[in-house]
Structure formats: structure tokens, C-alpha cells
Amino acid sequence: MAVWNYLDGFFPQLLLIAFALVMPAIDYVVKDKRVLAWASLVPLLVLAALFTEWLFIGGWEPPASDIALLEVSMFSGLFVLVFVFVGIVVVLGSPEFIKADKNQGEYYALILLAITGMTVVAEAADLIALFVGLEIAGISSFALSGFRKTEKRSAEAATKYFIVGGFSSALTLFAISLIYGVAGTTQIVGIEPVLAGYVSGTEPIDAGPVLVLATVLLMAGFGFKIAMVPFHMWAPDVYEGAPTPISGLLAAASKKMGFAAFFKVFLIGLILTKTDWDIAVGALAIITMTVGNLIAVSQTNMKRLLAYSSIAQAGYVLIALPVATQYAVAGGMFHILTHAFMKSGAFMVVAAMGAVAVGEKLDDFKGLNRRSPFLALSMTLFLLSLAGIPPLAGFASKFVLFSSSVYASFEPGQGWLIWLAIAGVLNSALSLYYYARVIKYMYMEKGTGDSVKIPPMMAVAVGFAVLMVVGIGLFPDPFVSACRDAAEAFSGLAPGWR
């Protein structure tokens, strides 16, 4: 009885785990492997429906957690929704892509487990729970990247990802232990009161340098997940080598999990020592977006191009941390939300092209409009949205995100924050160069090959992402207010809007 009460709070995770566990069994029984995809869609669709109802309509509410490890809030809810939506797109895009592979049951099981880990991170109220979530998601993703173990590229990607990932996990764990040493607690909300003692001088010990070390190690650990420069080197190799739907999962969901952790720990736990890290994170934000965009210019492989583009997009979202207002967090979350759709959509287009044997090099996009107008138009919309062209979703979210730093820069002593917005806008202009080149390839260049037929499930996945990218762009207001409500979880931050 009592056990069930505890488990109540784990409802989303339990649902996902239950389906993950039966997946290999279904694989053993059924011939038509597409059934696996349908089965794994069930928990994702259920969660998507429930969380959409909770956040946008009202009615259903998730059970509150009785244990101090997890905390359900609008903030975690929005992240869970993002993970689940990306999961849906990825699962829809998978059956055709992996139809010739063995062990498909494990593939879907691992996707569900990765999403489980991500939801744990989103809901974590304790550094230990956070770490466990990161590991569940991380280990599942290592295995997924190496799913085609006989393929050299895939195996290489998985190995690299695993080694660098293990290293950064170690750094994160070391940072957590340092924080425990300083603060005496692993509760995220519990860190701040202890730090307040240091800041006001009531606590005698000077924990400054230790805390700075912990902060920097956390930046490295989380920075690995979000592919922040200089902790980004793994990302292009892994995105290129992993099966394309999995690249989409890593870029659109796993990276967002890193942001959930980053926001929680830095803006709740470490907010009092903000002056220690805000300039460093701001500088890394600018470096990350600039390096990502500049290297993306010279890419010839579409998956690598999208990988560097995701690095740049992570740089934009990082703006929210040094700005540190509820407005900025709302902007960051909004951009995370829109990026999830445009990036997963773009990867699904690449996956669809791989599935129908067109290829995933930039040159393969030449003349795509004649071969598949649907894919070409969808890709155009995703790329324009990534560049931030109105009236698409990417414009709306960049607008909120960048304007937050402009507003915050009006506060006394915060004038430097305006440079984050300026860097963001200049980088958006730079990024248009390589996005527009792909569009030019698709529409203006002559390609070879006949028109291709896109598998229906992939078309649904791409179409769903298009719908969201256009829909959020035209009617951003409900999404912005959801993000604002979610950002109120950060009650220690100034609102930032007037």
C-alpha cells in the first residue's frame, strides 16, 4: 500500500519502463516489426495527451511525488512534453530506417528508456536523482548510437560517445560530491540557504574556490550534454555515425535534458554565486554560437551540418543563464521547445532521404524539389525556422529569448547583457548563409535521379513537425504563456518583464 503511494509520483516513468520491458518480448512474437513502433507510440501518445491537457487545457494533473527526489512542476511538465514529442517524431521515423536491422525490440526499448531518463532529470529535485537520470538517458543513448554494431561508423560513434560521456559523468559526480562537501546536502533547493550563509558571512569557512571548482566541473558535465564549446567535440562525430533518427533524438531531446539540468542547478542551487559564473557562461554562449555557425558553413554532410547548427542553437539558449530572469528562462524554454520540432523535423527529412536511398550528403539535396517536393518544402521550413525567419516558430522563440537579454540590460550594472542579444542576432544572420545554401541546392540546382516515394510513417513524422513549426510561429502566445508559467518555478529570479 505504502509502496504504491510512493510510486504514484513515478507515473510517467513507470509507464515508459513498462512498455520498454515488454518491447523485446513483442519483438520475439511478431513478424511485422512495425508493430513495435506502434506499441512504443502508445505510452508516448498517452503522456503527450495527458501533459498537453495539463499544461494547455487544464483538467488532468500529474500525481505529486511523495519523495524528495522528484518534484513535479510546470517546468518539468514542459520538458517532459518536449521529450515525449521528440520521441513520437523519432519513433515514427524509425521503422523504415531500421527495417533491415536485427534486434528492433531493443531499439525501441532503449528509446523509451532514454526518454525515461530524461523525464527523471526534468523532475529531479535532488542532485543524486539528477545524476541517475543523466546516466539512464546517457547509457541508453550510447547503446542506441551503436545500434548498427556491424557498421563501422556507428560503432566508432558509440565508442567515442561512451568514452567522452563516461568522462563527463565522472566530472559531474565529482562536482556533486564537492557541492555536498560544501553545502552538506544534495537537495537542489537546499544548496542556496547554505550559500547564503557564506555570502552574508555567518558561516566561517571560505568555501569560494571549492565552489568555483564544482561550478566549473558542472559546466563541463552539463556542457557535454548540450554540446557547449569546448565540450562539444563528440557531437558531430556521433550525430554523423548514429542512425539518423537517433541523431534526431540526441539533438532534439538529449540536449534539452542537459538544459533542464543546467537551469535547475545554476538558477536555483547556485543563483547566489551568479557573479562567479555569469560572465563565463555568457562568454561560452557567444563562443558556442559563433563556433557552431562558422564550422557549419564548411560542412558537406547534412548530418554534420545539422550537428554544428545544434551547437549554435545551444549557444542561443545559453543566453538565458547569465540573464537569469524568469523572462529569460521562459525564452530559453520556448526556444528549446521550438528547436525540438525544427531540429527533429530536419533530422527526419535526412532520415527519410536515407531510407529511400537518396543519401545524406549536401550534394544529395541538389534538385530535391523535383524528386520530392514535400521533403524539399518541409526542409525549407525547418531551415528557415532555424535561421529565425518569421512567421515560423524559430523567429518567435528567438525573439523572446533575445529580447529578454535586451530588457535585462536596462537594469543597472547589467549593460553587458545586451552583447548577448547582439551576438545572437549577428549569428542568426551568419547561419542564414548555410541554411540558404541548402535551400538553393534543393530548388535551384539540377540533381540526378527520379522522384521518390516517402514512406507514410516518415511523412507523418515530418508533417507533424512542420505543423508545429508553422503553428507555433503563427500562434505563439499559448506556448509563450505556458513557458512563462513554467518559468515561475524559478521563484528566486526577477520576473524581467515590465
Binding site: 565508442t159 567515442k160 565540450f231 559564473w277 564550422i295 523572462y327 517536393p373 504563456s481 515590465r498
Partner: protein, 661 residues
């Protein structure tokens, strides 16, 4: 009884749906004329709904200050909302766009028939244009309007360059886009000033007179408002091809003639006039801006009319004529503002909008007639036409009606509105003598207009054929729209005397301003027009212009070589070279901007590309190494992470405190 006006937002949806369908449907389902059927349906749907909305406006309903709005984004007190604004001014624009738009699309069924596969792109772009043009005139704030303003510019670019494989068309499209962009930047600057001071771009707030104007409420200083309105008018200078940015419009004639008729005569180029009229509540607070508007209009009217004298391309004659007539409208708006300020009358404002409507009909007619001629003869050059009257009876008669209308001969439409325009400008002279000079320019323009229009008609249709072409009348699908438009050119002037009269109707759109309604009965208007000696000045000059053209270009025995010698020769060459304005821009561009461009290019190649290539080199090299030795690289990644941590630690612990943070 349905409140149609509440559904005004649906008007642009019809053509937009047609655009989407034509663009996305598989080729075999496109049907008649490769999408022409969908286009006609889209245009007609919008026409029907527009008429229902106009009916509501005629019955006194408007959708302005209290219109429902939808939210795009709200953050704190920063809000972007979209809404619909339908008043009498909007109604006039709706009439022109819906009627001309539909007729042009039908006419295209014949005119574009030979285009083959290109028709799909043509119809899709035309539908997008019509849709965004509707969007422009029903916007209820400047931001929304600006978005559509840019979109009509985009459509104009695409359609001017419809035959993009022709270098002249591609460069004309580029030119039109870039020149109007100069105006757009000014418009944007003006809007930014307004937003900075007032904090909103909603018409309802900016124009609200309830608590006093925005100046008297102290929200914006007077000189800033003058600057803002002058800059906003700068947008109109670009879009409505006013001097000195007028040269793009004659070049825009590279597009299909239907496009010239719809976009570059009847609708998009009117957007600038519409913008100026819409901004009236702000403009009448700054006499300096009004004077600027009037002078630009007057100068444009005269200069463009002279340029039309020596043009030999039938479409260019009409293009300069359009520029000149747009100048009339702008002039009337400038003078009308003075009348609002000093005499509390809306005469000039109403005259401008009246001329806008009439011009929309007769100029679209003239262009479509020209299209019919070009379709049949296969050239634009009037020197190889002539004697087409017998072979193309319908085209020649409808074009004659259009020419008489624009020349200002009663009782056709051009007479009434041109007379109102000139009367308003003359009345403005009471308050600033500059308007007397502008009136004189306007009257001279009237003379020139009559002359060049009949020069064109005689060169095209009269006399003996000057080349070996087998001209034939165009098919019904083209001539029926011509006849409908000719009918409108005959009667649209009588709108002055129907119902409450056009003047009384349009006046209500600025009734919030200190304007006393005209207490003229409809007979009074007729009496005033026909007892005013000034009416006869312009009328006599117009007739003289027609007679002169008759003498020079119709009656045999006139030696036109006198135009080629001495002072007259110089003048002729100056006119043929459009007063060297275009040449000036080209020289300016070549000598000054090319130098600047070289510097920018050098910077681009060596600095920007250098950085990009440097990163590319780094990225590519690393990629190459990665593929060669995997194990080494993972170590490198890990060591880079360590390096990053160390750098961050040093930065936070030593560099920041040292820098005083």
C-alpha cells in the same frame, strides 16, 4: 442578417487558398489553364466577400477602434496583436483590388495561354499577390501593414522577373526591389520613431483623438512627429514611384502586361497613396510634412508626364502616365492636409481617393488594351504599329474610352476626379502660395497627359500599318474584361452623385479630425464644377492637347523631323533619356558605389572569408585526423575538456577579479 464586415479577415484567405492549391496540387489536377481555374475562383470569392463588406460600409458600418483583435505575443506590457480595420478608405481600396484583380485573372486566361508550364507559377504568384494586397489594406496597425507591405514588394519582384531567363527582366526585377527597398527602410525608420515615443503602432491609439492627439498628450515631440511622418511618406515615395525614386516603375514593364495592369497600375503602386491617406491623422499635425508631400507629388506629376512624351514603348508611355497620375493623388493629399488644417474641409483627401479609384479602373483598362495589342502584334514598339483600328475594333474603342477618361474629358471618370484634385490644390493656394505653383504644374500635366495619350492612340490604331504583322482581335476572354473596365471608366465618375456622394462617403473615414462635413448637396457639386472658370482652364488645355496630337500624329503633312534639330532636338533627347535621371543613378552607382563595393568585397574576401575558411580548415583537418586515428582523437577530446576546465577556472578565479568584476 449577417454582419459581413466582421468576416473581412476572410477576404485574403480565398486567394491564399488558391495560391496554396495551385502551388501544391499535382500537375494533372490543376485543370483549366494550369491553375487558372483555381485562380479565378480565388479572386471571385474575394470579390464577392469584398462586395458584401463594402455594402456594410455603405450602410454606415465600420470596424475600427473597437475591432476584435487576436494576440500574436504578449510579454509583460509588450504586446503584438493583429486585427482588422475596415473603414471607408479600406472600402475604396477593396473595390479597386477586387474588381481589377478578378478581371485581370480572367484576362490572363487568354493573355498567358501560350506560356505553357510557366502558367502555374504565374497564377500562384498572382494569387499570393492579391492575397497580401488585401492583407495590406485591412491591417489595423503599422506593423501588420508593414509585413504585407514587404510581401507585396516580394510578389512584385517575382512577377516583374517572371521571364527571368531574359536578362533585362531579371535586372528590372532586381532594380524595382532595391529601389522600393530604399523607401521601405525610410518607412521602417519612421515606424521605429513612432514606436519609440508612443510605444505602439496600433492605428486606434496613434490616431485616437478622444484624449487629444498624440502630440497634445505629450507622447511625442512635434519635431519627432514631423520626422516620423516624413519618413513614413518616404515609404510611399518608393512604393508609389514618386520622384526621385520613380525610375523603377517604367523598368518594371518587363513583366507580363497583366502584371503591369494589376500591380503596377491599379493596386500595389497605390499602396503608397493608401499609406499616406491612412497616416492622415498624423500628417495633418505637421504642415511641414504635408508641404513635402505636396511638392513631391506635383514635381512627380509634371516630370513623369514629360517623360511620357518621347517614349516609343507603349507600356512605358502608360508607366510614366501612371507615375504622373500617382503624383496627382499625392499632390491632392498634400494640399488636402492644408485644407483640413486651415479650412476644416476634406476636399483634397476625398479628391485623392476618388482619383485613386477612377485611375484604378481606366489605367487597368489601358494596360489590358495595350496587352491585347502586344498579344496580337508581338511587339511593344509603337513605331511598328499603326492602322490597327480596323483589325482590333473592340480593343481600339475601349482604349479610346480609356484615353478620353485619363485626358479628363467629361463626362468620363477622369474628368471629375482630376477636376476635384486641381480644385483642391488651387484652394490650398489661399494658405500657402506654393500651391498656386503646384496647381500650374498640375494644369500643365493635364495638357501633356491629353497629348501623350492621344499620341499613343494615334500611333497605335490610326494611319497605315508600319510593319508586316497579321494583327487580329483578341479572344473573348480578353475583350470581355476590357469592355467591363471600359464601362467602369465611363461611369465610375458618377459615384460623385450617387447616394450620399463619393466625397461625403470617404470624408467619414477622417471624421475624427477637425473636419466639418461638406454641406454641399449633390447638385451643388455639379453647379460648383461647371461654374468654376478653373474647370474650363484644364478642360480647354486637355482638348488642346488632344488636338495637337491629332495634328502631329494623325493628319498627314507634319514633318516630325523638326523635333530633332536645335534646342528642340536637345529637349527631345533629354526627354528620350528621361531627363538623364536614370543615367545619373547608373553613373552614381558605377563611380561611387562601385568603389565602395570594391572595398566591401575586399573585406569580404580577405577578412570574413578568411575567418570562415580558417575555421573550415580547422574543422576539415580535424575531421581528417579523426578518421585516421580514432583512439588518439578520443584522447584529444578528453584533453580538450580538461583544458576547457582549466581555462574556465583561471578565468573565474584570476582573470575576472583582476579585471575588477
Amino acid at each position: 442578417m449577417i454582419d459581413w464586415i466582421a468576416y473581412a479577415w476572410l477576404i485574403p484567405v480565398f486567394p491564399f487558398l488558391a495560391f496554396v492549391l495551385i502551388g501544391l496540387l499535382p500537375k494533372r489536377t490543376l485543370g483549366w489553364e494550369d491553375g487558372g481555374g483555381y485562380a479565378v475562383a480565388g479572386a471571385a470569392g474575394a470579390l464577392v466577400l469584398s462586395m458584401l463588406v463594402i455594402w456594410d460600409v455603405l450602410n454606415g458600418q465600420t470596424l475600427t477602434h473597437d475591432a476584435p483583435r487576436s494576440t500574436w505575443l504578449i510579454i509583460g506590457d509588450f504586446r503584438i496583436e493583429f486585427g482588422i480595420w475596415v473603414d471607408q478608405l479600406t472600402a475604396v481600396m477593396l473595390v479597386v483590388i477586387s474588381v481589377v484583380g478578378t478581371l485581370v485573372v480572367i484576362y490572363s486566361g487568354g493573355y498567358m495561354h501560350e506560356e505553357g508550364v510557366g502558367r502555374r507559377r504565374y497564377y500562384a504568384e498572382i494569387m499570393l499577390f492579391i492575397s497580401v494586397m488585401y492583407g495590406l489594406v485591412i491591417a489595423d496597425n503599422y506593423l501588420q501593414m508593414f509585413i504585407f507591405w514587404e510581401l507585396v514588394g516580394l510578389c512584385s519582384y517575382l512577377l516583374i522577373g517572371f521571364w527571368y531567363e531574359k536578362p533585362s527582366a531579371a535586372s528590372a526585377a532586381k532594380r524595382a526591389f532595391i529601389v522600393t527597398r530604399v523607401g521601405d527602410i525610410m518607412l521602417m525608420a519612421g515606424l521605429i520613431i513612432l514606436f519609440k515615443y508612443v510605444g505602439t503602432l496600433d492605428f486606434a491609439v496613434l490616431f485616437g483623438q478622444g484624449a487629444g492627439s498624440i502630440v497634445s498628450r505629450g507622447e511625442i515631440p512635434q519635431d519627432m512627429l514631423t520626422l516620423a511622418t516624413a519618413l513614413i511618406f518616404g515609404g510611399a515615395i518608393g512604393k508609389s514611384a514618386q520622384f526621385p525614386l520613380h525610375e523603377w516603375l517604367p523598368d518594371a514593364m518587363e513583366g507580363p502586361t497583366t502584371v503591369s495592369a494589376l500591380i503596377h497600375a491599379a493596386t500595389m503602386v497605390k499602396a503608397g497613396v493608401y499609406l499616406t491617406a491612412r497616416t492622415y491623422p498624423l500628417l495633418v499635425q505637421t504642415p511641414e510634412s504635408l508641404l513635402f508631400v505636396a511638392i513631391i507629388g506635383g514635381v512627380t506629376a509634371l516630370i513623369a508626364a514629360t517623360c511620357a512624351l518621347a517614349a516609343n514603348d507603349i507600356k512605358r508611355v502608360l508607366a510614366y502616365s501612371t507615375v504622373s497620375q500617382l503624383g496627382y493623388m499625392i499632390l491632392a493629399l498634400g494640399a488636402g492636409g492644408y485644407l483640413v488644417i486651415h479650412a476644416h474641409e476634406a476636399g483634397g483627401y476625398a479628391a485623392a481617393m476618388f482619383h485613386l479609384m477612377n485611375h484604378g479602373f481606366f489605367k487597368a483598362l489601358l494596360f489590358l488594351c495595350a496587352g491585347s495589342v502586344i498579344h496580337s502584334v508581338g511587339t511593344n514598339d509603337m513605331r511598328s504599329m499603326g492602322g490597327l483600328r480596323g483589325k482590333m475594333p473592340i480593343t481600339s474603342i475601349t482604349m479610346l474610352i480609356g484615353s478620353v477618361a485619363i485626358a479628363g474629358i467629361p463626362p468620363l471618370s477622369g474628368f471629375w476626379s482630376k477636376d476635384e484634385v486641381l480644385a483642391a490644390v488651387y484652394e490650398g493656394g489661399e494658405f500657402d502660395p506654393v500651391f498656386f505653383a503646384l496647381w500650374a504644374m498640375g494644369v500643365a500635366t493635364a495638357f501633356l497627359t491629353a497629348f501623350y495619350m492621344f499620341r499613343m492612340w494615334f500611333m497605335t490604331f490610326a494611319g497605315a500599318p508600319r510593319s508586316e504583322v497579321h494583327a487580329h482581335e483578341s479572344p473573348k476572354i480578353m475583350t470581355v474584361p476590357l469592355m467591363i473596365l471600359a464601362g467602369l471608366a465611363l461611369v465610375s465618375g458618377f459615384a460623385l452623385f450617387v447616394g450620399e456622394g463619393f466625397m461625403g462617403f470617404i470624408e467619414r473615414s477622417i471624421e475624427d479630425l477637425p473636419v466639418t462635413p461638406l454641406h454641399e448637396s449633390l447638385t451643388d457639386i455639379a453647379v460648383r464644377i461647371f461654374t468654376d472658370p478653373l474647370t474650363y482652364v484644364s478642360l480647354v488645355l486637355a482638348v488642346a492637347g488632344i488636338l495637337l496630337a491629332y495634328r502631329v500624329y494623325y493628319l498627314p503633312g507634319f514633318d516630325r523631323s523638326v523635333f530633332a534639330v536645335g534646342v528642340r532636338g536637345k529637349l527631345q533627347r533629354a526627354l528620350e533619356n528621361r531627363w538623364y535621371i536614370s543615367q545619373f543613378y547608373d553613373d552614381f552607382a558605377v563611380k561611387v558605389w562601385y568603389g565602395f563595393a570594391l572595398v566591401a568585397d575586399w573585406f569580404d574576401i580577405y577578412v570574413i572569408d578568411g575567418i570562415v575558411n580558417g575555421f573550415a580548415y580547422l574543422g576539415a583537418n580535424m575531421g581528417a585526423t579523426i578518421r585516421k586515428a580514432q583512439s588518439g582523437n578520443v584522447q584529444r577530446y578528453a584533453s580538450l575538456i580538461i583544458l576547457g576546465i582549466v581555462v574556465l577556472l583561471v578565468f573565474i578565479l584570476y582573470v575576472l577579479p583582476w579585471g575588477g568584476w
